[in-house]
Symmetry: C2
Subunit: 400 residues, 2 copies
């Protein structure tokens, strides 16, 4: 019966990573593999109050069908947050989505024709790769350094691919590298996008979780022509389970997103939207985010200290100022999948770098998540990974 | 900047109906236009208890990322409900979706190639038409009578379109007609699907809301070759705002749905899934559904009585045994959009039949929803529509 599938079913493959992650869910495994927020920080008690208030004040409406665009007070609260980071939008520029993953997927659906070129960081977020691949996009990867996507390389590729449809970028604490694009490069990216008439999709799930350095305005702040589509989410600053994300873009774009959103799932959970808005009405979400930042900072610091202590000395790695991930660059010829398999034998997990490169491995690496494990788990887990790295790199068996 | 849209953006149009429905939301309008459940029946107090219990017992997990397939206890509860209506599935055959609209959309994404033929009832659910059209499907409409899709016409069209991909059917209290497919036709549909090797997509959002006549097993009950994909939802028996739907199909299909679901939005709201499961654990949802059935039966009976009293005598209309809708057939040459416009001038709304015909108007009609208005509103609203129908049909101005 599988011969009934559409052609595009070939384009979405059972992600190896997904299978991998299932293994890492066993309780004896110390996992730096997922991208999960620290669940002990979820504001469970405050949510009880918010749920109660929504059901008391607005019970029927919160359980009924609601407009595709989203709950207006939530969109207003998002506008206010966007304003605080330098993006001046109105409610009409905001669409609530079922997590930022849906915003990414709808972006592919709305803009990507067969074989359209997407320019992205190398490496980049694997679930965005999968979503765009499902629309048969092609990828042009741009080299990164510690300051994010390299603008000279971007310009070269824009010249080489004059019909490129969009630049997909995660400027803040990028997934998987944890790197942040500098202010100068953000401005330059806009100049280049204007010059080469290409859209920018700015995926910013982590921007709120900065725990060091100076806050930078989003790429969209510098947008002069309405060509930046900004995507974000409450997943990293509130609760990912509720699946509340958004798109902020010019109204003409949002109108078309709304049409596709309606076809995709009519609207995002009315109740989840209202309890998110109610939470922000009743509590100071900034105070809550401060707690997240403090915990993630401590965990990131611990993990970086462990790298220094336990890992081979010659490895390069990122030093993130926020977000959830550290990226370990592996020496050329070292296979991250093999390292991963060895780690798993020692009950510790990370994500091998391969799936983050849409065109196959370039500079292989390991992604380590620090947000979801305790200090003790970080120390013990990093020790184990360190042992694997020392042994495998010395033995040379990890060499291809 | 709109030149950046993908080709498929053309395929999804700003639905006229959507614009129409916005007008009908004005408080002075008596609206039979939407397909909204009666909000006064939402179990608001019980949901307070369920929310509290979930957050107490399972707070962190209910707010965290969760598996794409859905929350296992919810999938188990669905299996049990499916069993009660004669479909013997296991948890592995169930995927939780963000409402049944997402299940429909994923079905298009998974199965429909450019120009693939979908066979459907004429008329049929307009948001399914829109979803399938977004994948550039073509539609072959099958005539209906009071007993649903006509099997002789179906067979003729299967012969004519031997490469048809799937039959999309709403067997119970169809949207927009309110008609129900007989047991014999369900069995015959399976025989034909087997003989012509075509899939069946059984969309069954209303089956639980039967208030008269004998319960019929789903088409999937008669499925001998795993070719029926069954789609349903909690929207009409619990709360549509929570966006909890599901697909029940053979595991080989579900595995592929899961891959696309992951790309589309990672997973459905963890909290909404858990409060739905918790509600069913704490309360007897069948008792709740009984209340819905009683109210809808009374409203449907009232609306049918009003048709007899206020409408021109020569009109045909459906006499539903469940669901949310009555369909009024208009005499040939009468334009439902014009009737609708006249109704709106009198502050009463219905949905004109045109958008329910994927290939353009066949036998035009009006869809009337009775679930969302009180007895008094039904009487007053039907009086007004009756006046319009009498006047317009007599004047002949409604003739094309």
């Amino acid at each position: 019966m599988e011969n009934k599938f559409a052609e595009r079913a070939r384009l979405v493959k059972s992600s190896e990573t997904r299978e991998i992650l299932k293994v890492t869910e066993q309780p004896e495994v110390i996992s730096f593999a997922g991208g999960l927020p620290a669940p002990e920080l979820f504001p469970v008690e405050d949510l009880k109050t918010a749920c109660h208030a929504v059901l008391n004040e607005d019970g029927a409406a919160s359980l009924q069908y609601s407009p595709t665009e989203g709950y207006i007070p939530l969109r207003e609260a998002i506008c206010k947050r966007m304003q605080e980071i330098g993006v001046y939008s109105t409610v009409k520029d905001i669409l609530i989505t079922s997590g930022s993953q849906q915003a990414i997927d709808l972006t592919g659906r709305l803009f990507i024709n067969d074989k359209d070129v997407i320019i992205c960081e190398s490496p980049t977020y694997l679930a965005a790769i999968n979503a765009f691949k499902s629309y048969n996009a092609e990828f042009v990867e741009i080299e990164m350094d510690e300051n994010g996507m390299m603008m000279d390389h971007l310009e070269k590729k824009l010249q080489e691919y004059p019909n490129a449809k969009l630049i997909y970028t995660i400027p803040d604490f990028q997934n998987p590298t944890g790197r942040t694009l500098t202010r100068e490069r953000r401005q330059r990216m806009i100049e280049l996008a204007n010059a080469y008439d290409v859209l920018i999709v700015e995926d910013n799930p982590y921007g709120g979780v900065r725990f060091a350095g100076e806050t930078l305005p989003p790429v969209k702040h510098f947008d002069t022509e309405g060509r930046v589509i900004y995507i974000s989410t409450f997943s990293k600053i509130f609760a990912p389970g509720l699946r509340i994300g958004w798109v902020c873009a010019d109204e003409a774009f949002i109108d078309k997103y709304v049409e596709f959103k309606q076809v995709a799932d009519l609207h995002t959970d009315s109740f989840a939207q209202r309890i998110t808005a109610k939470y922000m009405e009743l509590y100071d979400i900034e105070e809550h985010i401060k707690k997240i930042r403090a915990v993630y900072k401590a965990r990131c610091t611990e993990m970086l200290a462990c790298i220094k202590e336990f890992f081979p000395k010659d490895l390069s790695y990122s030093k993130p100022e926020g977000g959830l991930f550290i990226w370990i660059e592996l020496p050329e010829g070292v296979n991250s999948t093999l390292i991963f398999a060895e780690c798993l034998k020692n009950n510790v997990a990370c994500v091998p770098g391969v799936p983050f490169f849409p065109n196959g491995t370039q500079k292989d690496g390991l992604r380590l998540n620090y947000s979801n494990m305790s200090k003790e788990q970080i120390i013990e887990g990093m020790k184990r990974i360190g042992e694997v790295l020392h042994r495998e790199l010395a033995k040379g068996t990890a060499l291809l």
